[in-house]
Amino acid sequence: MDAFLHQALSGLATGSIYASLALALVMIYQATHLVNFSQGEMAMFSTYIAWFLIQVGCPYWVAFLGTIAVSFVLGGAIQHIIIGRFQDASILSVVVVFVGLLAIFNSLAGWLFSYSIKAFPSPFPKEMGNTYMSAHELGAIGVMLAVLSLLVVFFRYTPLGLAMRAAAQNPTSSRLVGIRVDWMLALGWGLAGAIGSVAGMMIAPVVFLDPNMMSGVLLYAFAAALLGGIDNPVGAVLGGLLVGVLENLLGAYVIGNELKLTVALAIIVGVLVVRPAGLLGSIHVSRV
């Protein structure tokens, strides 16, 4: 029973990291109705920035906040400079642009910071842990919940959040009432970049820092976002936690580590076949 609980709880912890990255995907989806395939590589690049700041002597939390700020600006700039030019392009063209961004970030990180694997510190003191969960696992869950509550408050109770939702839902009407739609899109991308950087800094102590660390995580985040409902932040978190626990338990008890990814994905696709909008997603009805 202890072992089972341990597996489930540590699945919850990895799930919270998937959830953070899924939240970043949801941000961009809400703002632009696109799924950002380069989100994982952006998060990886941000984590390298944090690593660099720590190397030059910043205290952890200063580096943490600094990285979030840089990633926010970087995300906004990518939307404003590159993605904004593809507003009228077909979805597949934009997918190719995302693949391009993915290649650029991956290659740049390797070139600037070398491909060697690096250790990344965890900010949480060892005493915080207990028999079931390590300090870092608890901390990662806490950070993710904090990010989620901030987002919910931002979108529900602030005028800016309302403006962002309006811009995503109906750009033309929003423009007519004076919302700067292109800035709202850039803001969405900025938030996604910032949230992604948090996810990166939380997962780096677990998987170690290297330019390819996010490729697997992004897939889980993608699955989590779709499972929970890609237009719903709470759904994304729920999806992330479910995917994390499912992956861990299946790996430990059912099919072994070798095929856990495969089986987890098969289950997710199975769920989506039954409920295409995801667990908490809003169902769109189109008029014929």
């Binding site: 934009v94 991956n106 779709l226 495969t262 076949v273």
Partner: protein, 356 residues
């Protein structure tokens, strides 16, 4: 007179839907050929065929091998384009079908001693069945969800190939080594040159089949489903059947390409078929041009050679250069190389008709 002029339209409900809704009408509506134009086309085709035949005798063996790979990718891209370009179903997992084709060929040759030329059609049939069956659950999924499902297939397949369960056939992580076939009938060709012609033969078949398929009832139904699914269904097109069929045919072509690729590379291993291959194929059809047969050729040339060019420009960060290429390409030619070529030839044709 431009070559895009439409012939007299037959009364066919599906063709009507296509003609009213599709942007690619010209590609599916039969042409009426003027005699001079027919002659010009035949002449161009003859010159082109001559060039294709002369090519392997002017290049080094390694270059011949690279061109063979371009032909292999061209078949795979033709398959993916059929599904994504003409039928509107996004696949991020076509590398899986390529891998299945490659493994079918390799296992048949290595374990069962089947001659290499027979493995290619067998791989095609096998992939058709797998694709057709995968098409059924895919019917429920659209857009992003379909992308996820196919992406999952692309990610899962290398893991399955590595698993202990299949190891007696697949050779696990080690993969399978294949010997390169010699030219038959005492032809004075080295193995690389022979494989080039062998692959070219399949490219021609694939082109012929795809072109005719797209002009047939099936092709028109596929395009109609892409553009107006509801209208198509209302006119009696069996959407579910044609969508699964598109998946099957697409997988078949990609599987044939996989088998040819395995014979050309002489080696299959799970790590050659990661999800990166699937993404590369998708990049290939978008850069080459969606819903365009020549686009498959352009895309194949791009994905084979442009990474090398990027590598020449910057040894330190070649993939960053490649990424910049991709973004610039989409900025300059949003409808792919084929779209660019089409726009250019339209402009020339217009200028010529004004001069007349």
């Amino acid at each position: 007179m431009s070559s895009e002029e439409q012939g007299p339209r037959k009364i066919d409900p599906v063709a009507d839907v296509v003609a009213q809704t599709s942007s690619g009408v010209a590609a599916v509506v039969p042409h009426t050929w003027a005699r001079a134009e027919l002659f010009g086309t035949a002449l161009r085709a003859a010159v082109f065929a001559g060039l294709l035949c002369a090519l392997p005798f002017t290049l080094t063996n390694y270059q011949v091998f690279q061109v063979t790979l371009v032909l292999v990718y061209a078949i795979a891209l033709l398959g993916l384009n059929l599904l994504t370009g003409y039928n509107g179903q996004i696949s991020l997992g076509h590398g899986a079908f390529y891998a299945i084709g490659a493994y079918v060929a390799a296992i048949l040759m290595d374990r069962y001693g089947v001659p290499y030329w027979l493995t290619v059609p067998v791989a095609g049939v096998g992939c058709f069945l797998v694709g057709y069956l995968f098409g059924f659950p895919a019917l429920r999924l659209e857009g992003l969800y379909l992308a996820l499902a196919t992406f999952a297939l692309g990610v899962a397949l290398p893991q399955l190939l590595k698993s202990n369960f299949l190891e007696p056939w697949t050779g696990g992580v080690q993969g399978i080594v294949i010997t390169k076939p010699d030219a038959p009938y005492g032809l004075k060709l080295n193995p690389d040159q022979w494989l080039y012609f062998f692959t070219l033969f399949f490219v021609l078949i694939a082109l012929f089949l795809t072109r005719n398929l797209l002009r047939s009832r099936i092709g028109l139904a596929m395009v109609a489903i892409r553009d107006q699914p509801i209208a198509a269904e209302a006119m009696g097109v069996n959407t579910a059947f044609y969508k699964s069929l598109a998946f099957g045919i697409s997988a078949m072509l990609t599987g044939v390409a996989g088998a040819l690729g395995a014979i050309a590379v002489q080696f299959v291993a799970p790590d050659s078929f990661t999800v990166l291959l699937s993404i590369t194929l998708l990049v290939g059809i978008v850069i080459g041009g969606l819903a365009s047969i020549p686009g498959a050729m352009y895309g194949a040339i791009f994905i084979q050679f442009v990474p090398n060019v990027a590598d020449k420009i910057s040894k330190a960060a070649p993939w960053a250069i490649y990424g910049v290429f991709l973004i610039l390409f989409m900025l300059v030619l949003p409808s792919g190389i084929a779209g660019g070529v089409r726009a250019m030839s339209h402009r020339f044709a217009r200028r010529r008709s004004i001069q007349k």
